[in-house]
Amino acid sequence: MKYGRKSLHDKIVFYSLAIPAIIIALILLLLLLTQTSLSIPIFNVQGVTSTYISTTWRPSYEPPPTGAWYGLLPAIWGTLTSAIIAVLLALPLSLSVVIFVEEILPRRFREYISAIIDLMAGMPTILFGIWGLSFLGPILQAYVMTPLHEYLGFIPVFSCKPLAPATVLTAGVLLSLMIFPFMVVVIQETYRAIPITYKEAGWSLGLTMYEYVKLNMSMISPAIVSAILLGFGRASSETAAVTLVVGNAYNIGFCILSPAYTISSLIANQFTESGDFPYMQNALFAGGLILLIIGLIVNTIGIIILRRLRF
């Protein structure tokens, strides 16, 4: 026997601990199965590809394709653009925090900063949402988005006039504030794990602080890539806060100063009424399915890269 002789007591402990672990794996499988099976009806009437690449969202009591039509591309586009903005802003922010805390801040203050970062990472996201809508959005509209449009309006991403505080950019900025504590933790843990002997070797070559930090950051670049991917995963799946600040308009375009939808905000806004319209709920499940797939891919790659890091 592989594990040698086991007493009855050991067996009871083994199975009672193994079962919850198996259940977790089964739930993931079940989630995937439900999402897929409930998406299939809309794929049957609209086709998989046209459901995902169509830009029309037309609820109707008449079923698709002649009456209603549920194309998901604007929501997918809104999800990707707001998440990309979030990551682009959060990356320099989190790198600076890690460098400051690890290399400049005296050791005795570090735990306070870490506590604040942990607190932010665990904050209920709806709090970010109402803060974003009532405070951050109006400020961005007045002092960031309007000037961007006025002075840099010739660049396509800033070409539309920011008519409301809730836009793709607002969602991206808010998301960046929400994911950056999480990215800090991923990068910081790896940065701290760099063996002291490499750090000493760096200093012994006479590197300046800038060159030294650059060397260390390149040493842990897999962790940085992984933080980007995991941050992107979080940003693309965030719901409560984004629903409040993204504007919820079924637009698609390159301009980030206009309101839009994300997949999760679309589901959150429409799901309760979707039972009234034939196939609409299935379309929302199809949106959930693509979100789940994006999340699985991004997080899996992120975790694999982090694991492969060697010192």
Partner: protein, 254 residues
Amino acid sequence: MSYGIAVEVKNLNVSIAGKPILKDVNVKIPESTITAIMGPSGSGKTTLLRVLNRLIDLIEGVEVKGSVKIFGRNILETDPYEVRRMSGMVFQIPNPFPHLSIYDNVALGAKINGIAKSKRELDELVKWALEKAMLWDEVKDRLRDPPWKLSGGQQQRLCLARALALKPRLLLLDEPTANIDPVNTLKIEEALRNLKKEEDMTIILVTHMPHQAIRISDYIIMLYEGVVVEVGPTEEIAINPKHELTSRFLRGEM
């Protein structure tokens, strides 16, 4: 060959968090020689070595008093980044940067410190450093490989090459052969002798192996509990140690 003084330490006192580590250290180390700092663990050998390139500054709560001159410059009053560029250092555990290739490990310091101006100069410098570290023949066909493909002893010679690429006049080694096999140990010792002879390099080596000190050093500094108990030419100390602690250390009794 010149016989000036490379390192002059006067009344050096070092304490960490109030605890004295080095007490009133006074030594002069001549140029183009190999000096071994000997002593049991905890005697302050590594601390003394790390004062010489200000790596000691990295320890929180450290206090350094006295004067340390390297080639006439008081390094305690010089910018630490500049001090570190004056010498190369090899550590106890082989520590080539794992994300850089063999070539880039050697080239890094030289590139950043502006020692090599062009790609060709850099290539030549890397070759020179690897040759001096007696590693060139083993890696010349795989300079782009990551360093962890090398054996431990080869990695340590790579670290020696990385230090040499700074073209330092002073080379510091902290028990460089403590973790590697006898063959690689002899290769590193031969490399050090050649660096002294051919490049006029001043080499200071911390070791807890008396035989190593006798094999390669010209001078010995014997430390015990932060105090220099004996300094002198290796032949004299090896044959006729003046201090009881030194003779016990040389006999391997501590």
